[in-house]
Symmetry: C2
Subunit: 296 residues, 2 copies
Amino acid sequence: MWSPFRWPWGGISRPCGRRWPCRQARLWSPPMPRGWRGKSLHKTPHVPYHTPIMTPEACTLTLQSLPLFQGFPAEVMKELASKTTVSKHPKGHMLFQHGDTIKHLHIVTHGWVKVSRLTEEGDEAVLDVLTAPHPLQIMDAIAAPAWGATATVAEDAGFFSLPINLFKATLNEHPHLALGLLQTTAKMHQSLQRELEGRTLQKTDQRVGCFLLRLVPNPGDTHPATLTLPYDKTLLAARLGMQPETFSRALGNLKRELGITIQGHTLTIPNLKSLQAYTCSACSGTYPCIRSTQKA
Amino acid sequence: MWSPFRWPWGGISRPCGRRWPCRQARLWSPPMPRGWRGKSLHKTPHVPYHTPIMTPEACTLTLQSLPLFQGFPAEVMKELASKTTVSKHPKGHMLFQHGDTIKHLHIVTHGWVKVSRLTEEGDEAVLDVLTAPHPLQIMDAIAAPAWGATATVAEDAGFFSLPINLFKATLNEHPHLALGLLQTTAKMHQSLQRELEGRTLQKTDQRVGCFLLRLVPNPGDTHPATLTLPYDKTLLAARLGMQPETFSRALGNLKRELGITIQGHTLTIPNLKSLQAYTCSACSGTYPCIRSTQKA
């Protein structure tokens, strides 16, 4: 049994089993407060602690709150939680690669993860950029022995990882749970169909506009809406299936035509209705639609 | 109870209940042999017969052979078959429309069906063109009360239609069947992801080449491969998300670069390897891949 380690500036971690210093240990430490900055870390015990503590009860509760596990009985959740690994990875970390054998079902608990595929020529197609509470490539996990895409951390992210054999055994033991899962996966599929429609019919400006509309916190607003871009613009362009320069040009057009203003990652839309009229006319759906970040 | 009607030139139909003459009655008649051509139909009894006979046993067997129902026990299939409607529709018939309430789960038994969406501006995005033994928009049927797309017959097609309530009740009664269905839907999702990747990274020539490669009867062939285009070129262009003139240009490029020859709907690829090298370099998969017509 591990014993908790308290960082000198507050925060609790548990040992990772690797040699100190390790990069993750530094990442898992809570931010060092102002008073501590500049003080040598060598004055604090050199113990390799880096996974934040999550009690089995907390893990069960968090898992139960995920849409993926809606309807799963408490005792099943308890067993799943006891085998679940909690981890956190920095930006750039590759969680799994296209073709790797599937060992775990990963669920994003915070941060952003890029799901992409690489061609023989080295071009990358970003299939999706996901945040909590999304399972990663769940369809692969259900139907295939190997991953059909690569998952890379786009903004420091946390994961719940369930052994895939345990997940499949649970489904076989409690087949009625597959019905709920079928609903979840059906919604993902519908969302992917919407994506395909958008890439076929919408112009680049409209695709960018559509993405912005889905980020608006209150779609019913009549006042100017302010929103924050969730990740960097290069990734955003790739997520929308366009080159960074095309994305910048599209954003420029929206700024000129609809008076949208941008300051760093913060964006203000003065009139939601006119953006909707411009964007949603090239879509078969009606606004507000399901957000790209709320698929599952 | 209906009594079978034998067409004077062979073939059996059953009454439709509509007034003669109806278009379907003519469609459901087997082709009139040479000896009968020119003879007046008025010499034959004017009875409105047009649905071909399918005995409950034949219906059960056909349903059981579909990938969708793999693993369904015999007695369940018998009950499903007893409630299944068999129908056939001519090219252009709209089976259901985006937004219609879902009443049946339709499975294509022959012919081709276009699944598409129409935007407010009147543009059409073709999501897929399906043939036997595909269920139509099964994800909608599972998760939504209304269809998320429109299905139109592209080449005279036949359908099995199961009442959706019966299908859902069967799944609730035999939840282990949902596990098999989950596998089927997962494969469909993976196929849609491949489609999205192709639309993002492949050039139009490569997308056309990719489609042709999937139609090749024996992918391992070293001799020239001959194949038949399954439906007309305008629909084919829409299926690949491009304008008809872009499609013609792409096909022209392939003819010039790789020596592909076209006569009507028949196409000959002199060297499969060079077409693979040209097309598959912009794809993350390896050839031969799962065909677009073998998703479920």
